[in-house]
């Protein structure tokens, strides 16, 4: 087995809502390896997003430890987390979160301007099949196109990890598939660790590993013997 990239140990997350305590994560242990494609499955409210946000340095656990290589994310100051996100992590969300006042190219360039060893933004957009739409604003694109811009933006900095929270959640079947193809291609060609949250069980077939979460605990980790290409998935 190659070296682990992420090391998650006994991570818990508790939200205090007045008197009530919500345990979003309960002692999660997990390791992620270079270049793998992981799908996170689980019912609503099970803690998937919480885990992803912790991995991405958007949030910190209540207890336990998270290591990215030799960075201890749990002990990091906010400024360090910002640097970690800036240098190593790409995010894709259900609602794209593009900057409406910037074109596709500019949304991508936004990231390459602050990254150390970025890809060419045009190259990224070509990778997601949008070389024709460089100068379009988000409002001038379909949801799928916007999501592909979001992916281009996420990979433009050559991140070590790409974290996607329901990237196809707002998309229809063919568009969703297109987006998954892009993710698979990025994973294959750039070797980026890719973690995808989804409610769509079918998508699990294209992963190296499938992790199931329920009530804040990992209940199963399944290794796919044979990955299925996204184009062959049907739902």
């Amino acid at each position: 087995m190659p070296d682990t990239v992420f090391h998650v140990r006994k991570v818990s997350k508790v939200y205090h809502m007045g008197e009530v305590e919500v345990h979003a994560l309960r002692g999660v242990d997990l390791e992620l390896f270079p270049g793998e494609f992981v799908v996170l499955l689980g019912p609503s409210g099970s803690g998937k997003s919480t885990l992803l946000n912790i991995l991405g340095g958007l949030d910190v656990p209540t207890s336990g430890e998270v290591f990215y290589l030799d960075h201890n994310l749990t002990a990091a100051a906010p400024a360090e987390l910002t640097r970690y996100r800036r240098e190593h992590v790409g995010f894709v969300f259900q609602f794209y979160n593009l900057i409406p006042s910037l074109t596709a190219l500019e949304n991508t360039a936004l990231v390459t301007e602050i990254a150390e060893n970025p890809l060419d933004p045009r190259e990224c957009l070509r990778l997601v099949g949008l070389e024709e739409r460089l100068n379009h604003f988000p409002a001038q694109m379909s949801g799928g196109e916007q999501q592909r811009v979001a992916i281009a933006r996420a990979i433009a900095k050559r991140p070590e990890v790409l974290l996607c929270d329901e990237p196809t959640g707002a998309l229809d079947y063919p568009t969703g598939k297109l987006v998954l193809e892009v993710l698979e291609r990025v994973n294959r060609e750039l070797g980026t660790i890719t973690v995808v949250i989804t409610h769509n069980v079918v998508i699990a077939d294209m992963a190296d590993r499938v992790i199931r979460i329920s009530s804040g605990e990992i209940i199963d980790i399944h290794k796919n013997e044979k990955k299925v290409a996204p184009s062959e998935l049907t739902w």
Partner: protein, 787 residues
Amino acid sequence: MTALNKKLLRDLWRMRGQLITVALVVACGIATYVTMRGSYESIANAQRDYYAKYRFADVFASLKRAPDSLETSIAAIPGVSKIQTRIVVEVTLDVPGLPEPALGRLVSIPERGAPALNDLCLRRGRSIEPGRRDEVLVSEAFANANRLDVGATIGAVINGRWEPLRIVGIALSPEYVYEIRGAEVFPDNKRFGVFWMSREALGPAFNMEGGFNDVSISLSPGGSEAGVISRLDNLLEPYGGLGAYGRYDQVSNRFLSDEIVQDRITGIFIPAIFLAVAAFLIHVVLSRLVHTQRSAIGLLKAFGFSNTSIGLHFLGFSIFAVLLGTLLGVPLGIWLGRGLSRLYQDFFRFPELRFAPTVNMIVSAVAISGGAACFGALNALRSVAALPPAEAMRPEAPARFRPGFAERLGLQRFVSLSARMILRNLERRPWKATLSVVGLAFAGAILIVGFYFYDAIEYLVRVEFQRAAREDVGITFNEPHGSSARYSVERLPGVLRAEPFRAVPARLRFEHRSRRVGILGLSDDRDLRRIVDQNLRVIDLPPEGIVLSESLARILGVSPGDTITIEVLEGQRPVRRVMVAGTVQDLIGTSAYMDISALNRLMREGETISGAFLSVDSLVAPGLYSFLKKTPAVSGVNVREAMLQSFRNTIAESLNLSTGALIAFACVIAFGIVYNGALIALSERAHELASLRVLGFTRTEIGWMLLGEQAILAGVSIPMGFLLGYSICGLLVYAMQSELYRMPLVISGRTYAFAFITITLASAISGLLIARKIRNLDLVAVLKARE
């Protein structure tokens, strides 16, 4: 509590920063209204009560001397109710502790009983006792300025001899609410005072036994003032009457009434600005609130809530702001009003000037600001009503952008991405950007208006005391002298230069309009006393003809080239005609100037002078003053420096309070607008900023993106604010011009700098507050929601 009310309370709490800033602006509006309107009402009431209770006369006249028997003829004039004849003379005073001589006006009162008209209000001590000829009552203003109390003695030149006057009481008179000497504009209570003395004492001393030289008349109900004046003039004509006049021309009353009118104007003007800004802020905040709560509104409507109940719900914000503003503004206004009344007491002496805001006024203050708040809310409420529920619940279409202006020019290479974001955001909603700029411009403008009053006064001082009146001392003879007097004056100890002047009291008449003024004749080699217009230009006097203040020309309805009638009010009282040679745009009073020789020719007199302006060696000035004190031929001495000092002490002091308050309020407004603008920008852009944070931008970087936009708005607004401020000042100048003074429309660089710095500071502080909010931006929460 209903769920809707709970929502309201939560919204209010969440928006407490905005709520407080709006409430503070409302409070400023209410406070200025209560202060200014309250001052206006209290001073107007005090005037009315004072005049009624102390029987202020309606018609006044001075004359050379008439026998007491004339009184019955005066009483026979139809429309005359009461008559009070008097002896009024002016004397030189020696006041303990004052180096230069002062001028006292001695007014006779009956030894027994109260005067029929112009009764006195005794403040301290007692009234004069019959038979005690040296006892006097002194005006409170003079007593306070010179720290004289009951029991003090001062010297007066009476009939060429120094006589001691013993102060037994301190009094006020409705005739001297504003106590100034002759043709002055600002009070100098140290050097001019009114004394009341027994008629039995004054008569013999001034050769007035069995006669009088002054008469006051009250009109019977329905009596015609004009009719009484013209008949009285006819009656007094043979006795050297100087022309009767009504209350309008009575100096103290005119100043007071002018002040009251001005108070009424500023009491409408200034609060209106504040309330307009409050309405503006409420408009901005509520529009934004409705915008962010579109889907909630749609939902409420879908559930069957009526437009009215939803509208009231959003109106709740305005109502709360007004309530809070009232709670703060009313006590603040009362407090300021009390302070202002105390300062008023230094200019206007009333038996009682109490700042007593009426319930009526406070109710109207609240009603007006409530109205302004509702007006501000109107637009937001209309959009609530217009929102169809189904559409409201659909998320808004993504914002449409297009390449910015600079990029269309092909300049994008020079514009960074964050700058492009800022520019495109501004360009996408130009109306909103305009509103923000207008709001900020108003903030700047109000600051400029606040500081402008200082500038105006400084400028006035420069024109009047440094450019026009440059003499150290002005002396007036007790009667006109031949020109040889000029040389006697030049030989006085310490006098470096003397310029003679001739002052002739006259009534100027053109068609049916007339005005009493003093015509000032100046020598043509003048260097000390000059005529200066409001642009600091020195005006030349033509060898013939008369030059009038622009304001006087307007009153008379004359322009250069017209010929006016001059009825001289001294000596032989000749009536002459003279051409208006020009007008001068001066700042103070209504003046008429002539070349001294031309004036002498007009009077058909030889070289005659009424006094002289002197430049004095300051080292020997005290010697000169004590010499002048003992010179009976000199009836008045004006020391310019002392007048300037007293001007600064009185005017500047009262200005400090009102302007200080105005500036403090302006700062509140500036801050309120800037802070609200930035908060709203933050709430609108929170999603975008959080996305940027997720991408790894630091707080500082996104802070600049947001605040950069605010900085651009502030930058654009500042010159606009300057322009707006200038215009408002212009409007104020126009609204507040009176016969007594015109405020010059000059705004100093210092004022602009202050306004600039204040706006910048307000922006910086609200920037810091916003930066703190950016630091606490919850990334995860923001990303959960669709924009």
